[in-house]
Symmetry: C2
Subunit: 322 residues, 2 copies
């Protein structure tokens, strides 16, 4: 018996210690673990069947950084610059002018839609395969202005651990982002273990063509669907068809996804990441144009959703930290 | 050694015999099995990693019957009748007139889009949950005019076996249908083992609302996306983000999905179901308004895609056959 006990302790103890290692012991971590234990406990009153264990994650500001400007918009700037000579009609477009002037304050005040519309035009006519390559090429070469590293290094280590922990407990993890599916799919599988079919996002219009005998999908200038704010529950309905039991965000653009998640039956987990660590990352919330956290913060407090302090809840933010 | 051999034979032989039991030995069955063996053979030149084993199936006429009228349109007739008193403006609508007159010949000549638009209006204002219940209620009560059975009994047994066989070999099976996601999701998981998140189809506009404090998704009259013909590769791109290596259809509405599948690298499987069994099911192809098989048939012949004869390739069509 003593040998058996020793073996059991040897097997079980390290496994426990390894749950969410980059999270400090605290309320946020404890509530996440309690939730996962409750919904996976066979015969327990909060048990949820594996196929219903759907967890949805915002991307920008929740799984990776988003300051000083959404990384997709930085990519867009390059794409628009490259396409500008073919589009003399842009010269009076306020979004284009702000882009060319590198006027960040003007840009961040604009809503997603006109910005994404401009990138739509810039890349219309490209096949989806060519676009995919352009995203990969940019990600390989571009460096973040503060961290001087590839943007894909700026994924949050504690959230990667959370994704893996949920999957190890039978959850299916989805991204539900205001960013476009074609900007995320080239890198999120490697970064987060989330395959292309579990990426829900803003959708550009594409058309099937067989010109020249070879079938291709070609990008059009129009956006078909904006997966932000009230669009997030709609995107979840269209692409997943199940209500999440856990949802993770960081800004007002995630509020409706969390409300939709909270409105289901049974035990639920709603969590917001609060950017309060100017030293290790960035500090911003109610007054920010990028990743504004205001209404969702109030609702999180009123409804006792988890608000993660990056400063105090996370031992480290990035894998590259010393 | 003899004992080991006997054990091996005992284990392997019955497993082999059980592959696609409702399929007659013939070219179609042999080519399906050869394809699956080729793409799953570790180290083989046609090997495909499990995550890329994507198989897409049309629904109407491929996985279940579609005559004398797409079953969703039969459902629509009932829904439109129920909503008619609230819509006096319909009286001059040719689709509505054909519906009320039970004029099948007129109805089947119309394209999907105006018919689906009408059902959109009929059900606009409903929450998606109420709509889901209306589909379930109708399916529980309705009977097919020829077979006098619930419509969900009219799924093809050989195709159910094919779905299970592909999944047993690491494939992820998707529906890619001109029918709407909300009409399919309530029953396809039970019928085919395909979960809601693997149902790609025509999409109605829905909106997120928090009127009265409870968040709901409410149906609007507009169609957002028609997943038919050239829409099918687009739907695959939007929802799956991988090119299928195997695609299954039965009509010209599936042609572009099969072309898109065929255009990928490596070994591919393209298959059409030909309805040539008037006795056990229905016989129709080039001249039919429902499930017209004309251009896709020519292309299948020219490119040596598999064309399944329901009459000669399938031992039985429905599970309820004696």
């Amino acid at each position: 018996m003593r040998v058996l006990l020793a073996v059991l302790l040897f097997v079980v103890a390290p496994a426990r210690a390894q749950i969410l290692p980059s999270w400090n012991d605290g309320d946020a971590r404890a509530r996440i673990v309690a939730f996962v234990q409750a919904v996976t406990e066979q015969g327990g009153k909060s048990y949820v069947a594996p196929e219903e264990r759907v967890a949805t994650f915002d991307n920008d500001g929740t799984l990776w950084a988003e300051q000083p400007l959404y990384f997709q918009f930085v990519f867009m700037l390059e794409q628009v610059k490259a396409a500008a000579p073919k589009h003399p009609e842009w010269k009076d477009n306020p979004v284009f002018k702000a882009l060319m002037a590198h006027d960040k304050s003007e840009l961040t005040k604009m809503s997603h839609k006109p910005l994404l519309a401009l990138i739509g035009v810039a890349n219309s006519g490209m096949t989806v395969d060519a676009y995919d390559r352009s995203v990969r090429d940019w990600l390989a070469a571009a460096r973040h202005p503060k961290f001087k590293r590839p943007y894909t290094d700026l994924v949050y280590q504690p959230m990667q651990e959370l994704l893996a922990y949920l999957r190890a407990n039978g959850f299916k993890t989805y991204i539900v982002s205001g960013g476009s599916i074609e900007f995320m799919r080239p890198w999120v599988e490697k970064a987060y273990g989330i395959p292309p079919e579990q990426v829900v996002g803003t959708v550009s219009q594409v058309e099937f063509e067989t010109k020249g005998g070879k079938p291709v999908l070609r990008r059009k200038a129009k956006l078909d669907f904006v997966d932000d704010g009230p669009g997030k529950p709609v995107g979840i309905y269209r692409s997943i068809g199940r209500r999440p039991i856990a949802a993770f965000g960081n800004s007002d653009g995630d509020l409706q996804m969390l409300q939709f998640t909270a409105a289901g039956e049974g035990r639920r987990l709603m969590l917001l990441v609060h950017h309060d660590d100017a030293e290790r990352e960035f500090a911003y919330d109610r007054a920010s144009n990028v990743g504004k956290l205001d209404k969702a913060w109030d609702e999180a407090r009123a409804k006792n959703w988890i608000v993660v302090s990056m400063k105090s809840d996370w031992k480290r933010i990035f894998a590259f930290e010393p």
